[in-house]
Symmetry: C2
């Protein structure tokens, strides 16, 4: 009885019409203060809650933002979602969450669901398994505002927010150089992912800019895991002239390196320096604490949502150039590189 209260019920109670009630509730300027007061009063008396579904249908606006991430279990994305959601609320939007589990198939289902739900905008971080992009063409065709974050594709002309992987890698490598390490190797991530490619570029550029040679044998192709860190380290130590420092493409890889070095009783940071990328939580708790590059996750979420809202608010503007926001990474120096 008090769940399904509608504006009609309020109107009846007050001997007026639904139109007036609707206007009063949305604070229409040409409704008398008196009416407004009595409407609000009976509304709360009858326990009225605006039905957003009906409102959305009428207005063609749902105040819903769809967010597709690979997995909520991954720290990084939890953090970004935190940033997204906090700003979304500020603007009166609610967040619909969908996990791709790194599979294109689920990513497509997410897009379907969101389109069907008539979300006002979509935020996506691409699944590893996504190699073609028809589902995003769909979104563009329907003119639903969309923004990529972190795992992006530059070919689709879709707005995006990323951190500067190139620069982060450059900073990390330069940090090792500044600490006096002379032979710096790199353990990379899957080559087809842009982020890791950029990090290789940053690494190489830093070496070059400091007059250090880049050697193919000093780049190991890993796959973002503790094990590939270990394996990379092993590989490097089998070289006739092994490195004295490693820039790992992300923290778990760095952790693998660290474990391998410990087993070999190599002293960190005196004999060997190691720096990661991502600023995972464990980094500040292991021994030695791990130097790394922070990815500004929460800020990334905020920026992505702000960009999306811009898009939503000025949907008409055609010919608007693509926007790409590149966030500054932040170097986090800890013990694993702290020699003097």
């Amino acid at each position: 009885m008090n769940y399904k209260t509608t504006i009609a019920d309020i109107a009846k109670e007050l001997n007026t019409t639904a139109a007036t009630v609707s206007r009063a509730l949305s604070n229409h300027p040409r409704i008398s203060a008196e009416t407004k007061k009595s409407v609000h009063l009976t509304a709360s008396k009858l326990n009225y809650k605006r039905n957003r579904v009906a409102s959305s249908l009428r207005l063609g606006k749902t105040h819903l933002i769809g967010v597709i991430i690979p997995s909520a279990e991954i720290n990084f994305f939890g953090s970004v979602v935190h940033g997204i959601e906090s700003i979304a609320n500020l603007h009166g939007y609610s967040v619909l969450l969908y996990q791709s589990n790194e599979l294109k198939q689920y990513e497509e289902k997410g897009v379907e669901t969101f389109l069907s739900a008539r979300v006002d905008g979509i935020l996506v971080s691409l699944a590893k398994g996504t190699t073609d992009y028809d589902h995003f063409e769909q979104i563009k065709k329907r003119k639903v505002p969309i923004v990529f974050f972190d795992r992006i594709n530059d070919e689709l002309g879709i707005d995006a927010v990323v951190i500067d992987d190139y620069k982060g890698a450059y900073m990390a490598t330069e940090h090792l150089i500044s600490k006096g390490y002379k032979k710096i190797a790199h353990i990379a991530g899957p080559a087809h992912l842009k982020n890791f490619e950029e990090r290789i570029r940053g690494y190489s550029a830093a070496l070059r800019d400091h007059g250090m040679s880049t050697d193919e044998s000093f780049i190991y192709q890993g796959n973002v895991s503790i094990e590939s860190g270990r394996e990379g380290a092993r590989q490097f130590f089998s070289l006739p002239d092994p490195p004295d420092a490693i820039f790992a493409t992300e923290d778990f890889t760095a952790l693998g390196v660290l474990k391998e070095l410990k087993e070999r009783n190599i002293k960190i940071p005196q004999e060997f320096g190691i720096i990661g990328f991502a600023n995972e939580q464990f980094g500040e708790h292991i021994t030695p604490t791990l130097s790394t590059v922070d990815q500004q996750t929460v800020q990334m979420g905020r920026s992505a949502l702000n960009l999306l809202i811009d898009l939503i608010d000025k949907k008409d503007e055609t010919g608007r150039p693509r926007q790409k926001i590149v966030l500054e990474p932040v170097l986090v120096t800890r013990h694993s590189t702290d020699r003097n």
Copy 2:
């Protein structure tokens, strides 16, 4: 033009009516196979996507589940949400996410939003700052299905999913006993939170059941942080007869203890044993690796959602007794307790 395709457009194209199209699309038994085929064909030709908003309004069902968590940045909740979302999709539900940031005020806003959005059900893990529960009474009054998880309240008669904190604590303590530690202390969490209270109970019971005395001075009141772990440890070592093991109420507290012990050059696990609770990611990467109790996070999410769906499907059943699912914790033994 092809965004706003409706069933009416399809109907016109085929010289039939919206009703037929609607039925064909939802695979109604009394529609000819032929019609269905042509409808589906034109639907995809016109790029039709069912408008869920309209459908929801008509059916009084949104296929939306609202989830309120303290923060998506906290690992634990990311993991639970992962479990929730995966099952939700299986059942055709989408997940609306809301963060309370541990504040009652936002929790209330979340409830408001969800009620207004007419979600089919609500999942909540209570904010630390929540001490009165009017907003949940609201939900009950409106008969919107709701399930609590992890941070629950037993007084409201609301269904819930938790892990057995008592048992987990009992297992942890007993594990220390089985390893031969004789003087086992405990660092607790905020007393007003049920979970921590239960863990104290489990700890005490295990000691009692093994004929060991429980001493008030062996329980330190912490606040779930690295610092309170350190402080607790310091306190214990200032005792005339300090403990030889600590069960910490969660992993960060345990980490603090560990750091303090290391600084004092106390050998773990030989001289001192330490076990935590939560199975945080860092635990398996620190030195020594941390024994702990796993909280079955993903499973918790799954169970909560399954329970909620039961509730949604049989909403009519009044007088149904409250359900409370208690998940089994899992002991994770690692080096920090591994002496023989």
